[in-house]
Amino acid sequence: MSENNFVEILLVEDNPQDLELTRRALRKGNLTNNIHVARDGAEALEFLFCEGAYATRKPEGGPKLILLDLKLPKVDGLEVLKRVKGDPRTKTIPVVVLTSSKEQNDVVESYHLGVNSYIVKPVNFERFAEAVRDVGMYWLLLNLPPVEK
């Protein structure tokens, strides 16, 4: 069960259609296992820091990658990013911003806060799927994360 409980990807997305399309894209890239979805920033933070509804969760249970939308209810994506990269417990987790925003401000701010990749969701689904698949492949399979002590 611990194997099953381990979360590979935390997907933070409030839009149900985008959520479904992202899941579909990940599935097409064979990255379907152990995806946890947070529907807003607050939930994402609770999950990551094992607080609130996730108080019982163990920090060792992942995720290995965070896919983060920026425009989120309650706590927005940049705030989530800031908390993740500002906390020693979570700062080594790769964060990929997956957003509709091409705003340069968002891009610059994200990189300032330590984002690992910034992906603009294309309208064309094939290209969207391709992008999601590439990101998942890269960060989960090719990238070598530091070994925690």
């Binding site: 259609q17 399309l21 957003t99 925003s101 309208v123």
Partner: protein, 812 residues
């Protein structure tokens, strides 16, 4: 002139007479003479003697006038010469006595003495003046020898004469000359100082006047040389020259200063004449002098006076402007200073009258008064304004002195002037300044250090209501409100230290008690030594200005308020626009992604169950969604252009073009494209934005040449003078780089060129060439944000050329 012969000569004569006696045998009168003495000689010896005697007689006859008389004085023989000189024939003479030729010249004693001598048997010799037959006189040097008989009585007389008429005449003349010379010498001695010296310079003769002037006696002078009277006044060269002249036989003339015995000096005008021997050596020198001591003294005085006058004139010329005019007023003399100030040359002035420099400034009465004064022989003094040749004016302080002739009428006028132009200018400036002060609207007042008013202009009267009479001598505090007195005291302290206090705004009180706002400037007044002795105050009534200022301030505040309000509104609008863009960017695309994504999902998951038509519709939905996505992206990109700041730096255009082509996938495998890229100069631009320009233009070129085989795309840059195209704005002012991209594509009709750069404007249908119609709008926005221009030249089916400039040439 009678001479008595000495006895030895008498003896010789006697011997001759003896020889004569020996020849008497020849039967003539001479023979009778010869008969005397030496009869005892032998015959041949006698013959020889006789011959000798005959020869002698012939020679004598040839040479001398010979006559023989008997003891009674009757002429018994005359020779030819006797006849010739006496102009009597022999016949007329023989038997006559000598009275026939007596001139009556000699006194009786002379004749008696002659007869006494010869009758006593002695030879007589003398000079006798005779008269010829024609009455003319002649002189003969005469020797009469008596020949004696045995008794010792004269037997006959032989007279031998020589013609000395000529000599006598010369003697006569010489005597007359000597007499004259004697007279001249006497006269000279009377008149001049005369001295003679021998060749050695020793004085051999001095006359009385020499002694008188030199105060030496003749004895003291004779044998001395002239150094005895040397004054030491003349230089050695002078003396040397004198001696050189006279020793070379030339006359010297000059003036010499000598010293008398008593040490006093005297001047003599001196002529020294050297008298020479035949060998040219000086025999003696005669010096003739005239006493010019008095003249010398006068000359010296005159010279001194002249020098003084000359010095005075030089000094005057140096100092003053001098002119002289004749009685008619014509200029006869001007000095350099006159020419300098009037700017006329001397030639232009001489002969003119003073109207040449008349400025026209002085009234007729002034000029008339001047002339009346000087024409009456009185000195005129005044200040005159003249005009120089170049039209400029100058002032001269003038004194005109008339000089009168013996009739008391002006003979000439001497005008002495001093340039007072500067002083006059200062006076004029001062007068003008006073007029300005008086006419000023500002109150200009003076006060002493105790705040007592010393001057009060019309402006002050107008501003404060007090007349000068009411204020001068009164304390300045009358116009200062009590609550401003402290301020006044502080200002006066600063003024006493020499400081000025400029444009401070305060209040003053009018005579009617009304307060006015005033701007006051206070400056120290200094005396000639620089000590502060008072203060000048310039006050301006700013009551009105103050009110206006108040209104302006109020308006300004309102305006600022309004600006702030508008700015806030604008900022709000901007924020809203940004939020709108953000939401468009983020929210609008999400549904499109859903439309596209789920259409795709349907096709993937249920495509097999759908009819062909159903699948086509889904594809159409998808392309519509994608098209809208592209539109949104372009629109966002376009709106972002206006918001982002430009980041200009040097851009390598050539490289930028290559990178852009790479990004566009060039070279495209499927197409044959001839790409000509010329050397592109670097430029100053925002690299990211400029890349957008190239991206749009290059993709357009590739797109619209799709049907060309081969497609030809030319990229280049020309440099053209800005003015030639009638544009301005290039930074260097005369030339700019024009980048261009030319293709041989479909081109377009230039009638629609104005639409080309508008947003969403397209000149081709979407089924011909895809596109959103935003690309060229972006190009234009970027170019205009750089300050450049973009334009196009095209023809339908014949390609298009896009040109753009970047407004600013790189300084490369």
């Amino acid at each position: 002139m009678k001479r008595v012969l000495r006895p030895p000569r008498l003896t010789k004569r006697n011997r001759v007479a003896t020889r004569d006696a020996q020849a008497s045998g020849r039967g003539n009168d001479i023979g009778a003479v010869i008969g005397i003495g030496e009869r005892s000689r032998p015959d041949d010896e006698l013959k020889a003697s006789l011959k000798e005697i005959i020869d002698l007689k012939a020679a004598l006859d040839e040479h001398a006038i010979v006559a023989i008389t008997d003891p009674q004085g009757k002429i018994t023989y005359v020779n030819d010469k006797f006849c010739a000189i006496s102009k009597y024939s022999r016949d007329e003479l023989l038997g006559q006595d000598h009275r026939i030729i007596n001139s009556g010249h000699h006194p009786t004693e002379f004749i008696r003495d002659l007869w006494t001598t010869i009758t006593h048997g002695r030879v007589w010799q003398g000079e006798i003046k005779n008269r010829a037959k024609d009455g003319s006189f002649y002189w003969v040097d005469t020797t009469i020898v008596p020949f004696l008989n045995e008794e010792g009585k004269p037997r006959q007389y032989v007279a031998i004469r020589a013609d000395i008429t000529e000599r006598k005449q010369i003697e006569e003349k010489l005597r007359a000359s000597l007499r004259e010379v004697g007279d001249l010498k006497a006269a000279l001695d009377e008149h001049a100082i005369v001295a003679m010296t021998d060749p050695q310079g020793r004085i051999t003769y001095v006359n009385d006047k020499f002694c008188a002037i030199s105060k030496y006696s003749r004895e003291e002078l004779l044998g001395q040389d002239h150094r005895i009277i040397n004054s030491g006044f003349h230089p050695t060269e002078f003396i040397r020259d004198l001696w050189m002249t006279i020793t070379h036989g030339q006359v010297w003339h000059g003036e010499i200063k000598n010293r008398a015995k008593d040490g006093s000096f005297y001047w003599v005008d001196t002529t020294i004449v050297p008298f020479l021997e035949e060998d040219g050596k000086a025999r003696q020198y005669v010096a003739i002098r005239a006493d010019i001591t008095e003249r010398k003294k006068i000359e010296e005085q005159l010279r001194t006076s002249l020098r003084e006058v000359d010095d005075l004139k030089t000094a005057l010329d140096e100092h003053a402007i001098v002119a002289m005019t004749d009685s008619q007023g014509r200029i006869t003399y001007v000095n350099d200073k006159f020419c300098e100030i009037s700017k006329y040359s001397r030639e232009e002035l001489l002969g003119e009258d003073h109207r040449i420099i008349n400025s026209g400034f002085h009234p007729t009465e002034f000029i008339r008064d001047l002339w009346t004064t000087i024409a009456h022989g009185q000195v005129w003094h005044g200040e005159i304004k003249n005009r120089a040749k170049d039209g400029s004016f100058y002032w001269v302080d003038t004194t005109i002195v008339p000089f009168l002739n013996e009739h008391g009428k002006p003979r000439q006028y001497v005008a002495i002037r001093a340039d007072i132009t500067d002083r006059k200018r200062v006076q004029e400036a001062e007068a003008q300044l006073a007029a300005i002060v008086e006419s000023s609207d500002d109150a200009i007042v003076g006060q002493d250090l105790h705040a007592v008013v010393t001057s009060w202009n019309a402006g002050a009267e107008k501003m404060f209501g007090f007349t000068p009479g009411e204020m001068i001598g009164q304390p300045m505090t009358r116009i200062i409100p009590p609550d401003r007195l402290d301020e006044e005291v502080k200002i006066l302290v600063r003024v006493r230290r020499g400081e000025s206090v400029g444009h401070f705004e305060t209040q003053r009180v009018r005579k009617n008690g009304k307060l006015i706002a005033a701007s006051v400037t206070v400056s120290p007044i200094r005396d000639a030594e620089g000590n502060v002795v008072g203060a000048s105050k310039v006050a301006r009534d700013i009551t009105e200005r103050k009110q206006t200022e108040g209104e302006i301030r109020k308006l300004n505040i309102e305006l600022e308020h309004r600006v702030i309000q508008r700015t806030t509104e604008l900022e709000t609008a901007n924020k809203e626009l940004e939020a709108f863009s953000y939401s468009v960017s983020h929210d609008l695309r999400a549904p499109l992604r859903a439309v596209d994504g789920f259409s795709q999902a349907v096709l993937e998951d249920f495509g097999a169950q759908l009819p062909e038509e159903g699948r086509h519709y889904l594809q159409t939905i998808r392309s519509g969604a994608q098209k809208m996505g592209a539109l949104i992206d372009d629109l966002l990109a376009f709106s972002r252009l206006s918001r982002l700041p430009l980041n200009k730096r040097e851009v390598d255009s050539a490289r930028l073009v290559r990178d852009t082509l790479d990004e566009l996938g060039y070279p495209l495998d499927a197409r044959k494209i001839e790409m000509r890229i010329a050397d592109l100069p670097p430029c100053l631009a925002d690299a990211a934005l400029l890349k957008q320009v190239w991206l749009n233009l290059l993709s357009n070129a590739l797109k619209y040449t799709r049907q060309r085989e081969p497609a030809v795309i030319e990229i280049g840059c020309t440099r053209e003078p800005v003015s030639a195209r009638g544009f301005t704005g290039a930074a260097n002012g005369n030339a700019e780089n024009i980048y261009f991209i030319r293709d041989n594509g479909t081109g377009f009709d230039m009638r629609y060129a104005h639409k080309l750069f508008g947003v969403f404007q397209r000149l081709h249908r979407a089924d011909e060439f895809e596109g959103t119609g935003v690309g060229l709008a972006i190009v234009q926005r970027i170019i205009s944000r750089h300050g450049g221009r973009v334009w196009v030249d095209a023809a339908l089916d014949r390609g298009a050329t896009f040109y753009f400039t970047l407004g600013e040439d790189p300084k490369l």
